[in-house]
Amino acid sequence: MGNPVQRPLPDIEDPLYQAHFQGLKDQQLRVQQCDACGQLQWPPRDLCKQCHGDRFHWPVMPDQAVVYTYSVVYRAPHPWFKEHLPYAIVVAELENGLRLLGNAFGVDVEKIQCGVRVKAHFQHDEDSGVCFLRWVPKQ
């Protein structure tokens, strides 16, 4: 039975986000890096926070991270998420200090704590053509 409510979707054609979402489809974590000064930044911005440059490239980051903080949700803020309750949202910190937010659907939410090591998984959704970032605790 199909869910009549659509998941909130990102704009994967947005110029500032396109490389990141294409990266997820390719099973890669890509973030924004300033052409001029090499500053890495996330979330992506129109200007480099270091040198105010406006040209960027999108290097691949390692897929290992540590839970910096998290949210465990017991009441859905939007109807699409009801069937996934309870679910965790994880803000995971890469070794270089950048933090990326993803889901942890289908994971025992009790296992999510600050400091837990996680690995990026890439969850492709056929209907929308969007690939989502999922953080899974390492065994």
Binding site: P43, S71, Y74, R75, L101, C114, V130, F132, L133
Partner: protein, 389 residues
């Protein structure tokens, strides 16, 4: 340029609508009702208002000119930092009257949130647009991070992790605030008791927030009329409440919590030292505090960032009756957003004025002379005011 001199400005009038859940009035009608009451309370004709600071999503300067019959508007501004807007609005109004660009500045807040707009209602009805809308739509909403309590939980869970703060603090704030609401005939939960068992049994919504850690959604509006203090004294109405100092502050990466270098950092931590310095007071001189309380937890965090105690210590600071009426620092004597109404914190300003006029009824703090009000909005913006009689 000279900085604000303490007591240059005063709050000369306050006005509130009834706070309800369910109304047939529009948001604008509620705003006008509160505004007219604030003018009447100050003893001025609404047509003589010459400055407007609007802190709500509804209402333009033209709406206010029409609704209040303003004849010569000299200044207006909109402030959009969520729940920090009313106190930041007071901040701006004080500087407007101090500089002389206007003499009678109305600051208003209000909404029919319960009847027309539920927060997080992204599938139907008008959508709240937050700062960093692209970040929200592309990196958070798709992952189910949609409602304010979820953003706050990122901050809260990291706070518990870094400081090992006691979990008791949130319950203390919830219960204390409800007890104060029972003393206030204008509080929505004036007749609804809350026991510790009720708190413990309330459902977990988003870790660590139970239902009873979360504020009300209500319909209503509140407004204040700010003038120069000397003008307020000459007007001979109610005794003016003097504004010793105000300040506004913003956290690093104000539109993004995830990559804020220190996620526990908040605007109030930058604003509070500025205000204390201008006012020339110490925190231990305060007789009461009205602290923005959209969640129990954010009260604790503001107390820490203002400097009442170190990070992680607020649960101990609020224990043993310190924040109860009769304690060392009575807190949210009106019932706050948690148990009175969600008027974006303008009800906190109004309550501080009542306390300093000696008009707070059963919730009156004996000998109240010096009070603190804070606002907190969006992803950590802060505003603070120090008032006295």
């Amino acid at each position: 340029m000279s900085r604000y001199q303490p007591d240059t400005a005063a709050i000369a009038g306050i006005g509130e609508t009834e706070y309800t859940r369910g109304t047939d009035k529009s948001g604008l009608q509620l705003l006008m009702e509160a505004s007219l009451k604030a003018c009447a309370d100050a003893g001025i004709e609404s047509s003589a208002v010459d400055g407007l600071v609007m802190t709500s999503r509804v209402g333009t300067n033209e709406d206010f000119v029409a609704g209040l019959g303003i004849t010569d508007l000299k200044f207006h501004a909109h402030i959009k930092i969520g729940g920090a807007s009313p106190v930041a609005g007071l901040h701006l109004a004080c500087h407007a009257v101090a500089s002389g660009i206007a003499e009678r500045v109305l600051v208003s807040a209000g909404r029919n949130a319960y009847s027309s707009m539920r927060l997080g209602a992204t599938d139907s009805g008008p959508r709240v647009v937050w700062p960093g809308d692209d970040i929200r739509r592309n990196l958070e909403y798709p992952y189910g991070m949609i409602a304010p309590m979820q953003w706050y939980s990122l901050h809260a869970n990291r706070w518990f992790h870094e400081t090992n703060a006691s979990r008791e603090g949130m319950a203390t704030v919830a219960l204390n605030t409800r007890r104060h609401a029972h003393l206030n005939p204008r509080a929505w939960f004036r007749d609804r008791p809350m026991s510790r068992e009720d708190y413990d049994a309330s459902p977990m919504l988003v870790t660590p927030f139970k239902l009873l850690d979360v504020c009300l959604e209500t319909d209503g509006a509140a407004a204040i009329l700010v003038t120069r203090a000397d003008a307020a004294r000459r007007a001979g109405g109610k005794p003016p409440v003097y504004v010793a100092a105000t300040a506004e502050g913003h956290p690093d990466s104000p539109d993004d919590l995830s990559n804020r270098p220190d996620i526990l950092g908040m605007g109030i931590g930058k604003a509070a030292p500025r205000a204390l310095d201008i006012a020339g007071i110490r925190l231990d001189e305060l007789d009461f505090a009205e602290i923005y309380d959209c969640f129990t937890f954010i009260v604790l965090r503001q107390l820490e960032e203002i400097g009442f105690c170190q990070r992680g210590e607020a649960p101990d600071f609020v224990a043993n009756g310190r924040i109860a009426l009769g304690g060392e620092l009575p807190l949210n004597t009106h019932g706050g957003l948690l148990s009175q109404a969600h008027i974006s914190g303008m009800n906190h300003v109004v309550e501080a004025v009542r306390q300093l006029r000696g008009d707070a009824g059963q919730a009156q703090v004996a000998g109240a002379h010096l009070g603190l009000v804070t606002g907190y909005g969006d992803f950590g913006d802060g505003a603070i005011a120090i008032l006295h009689n």
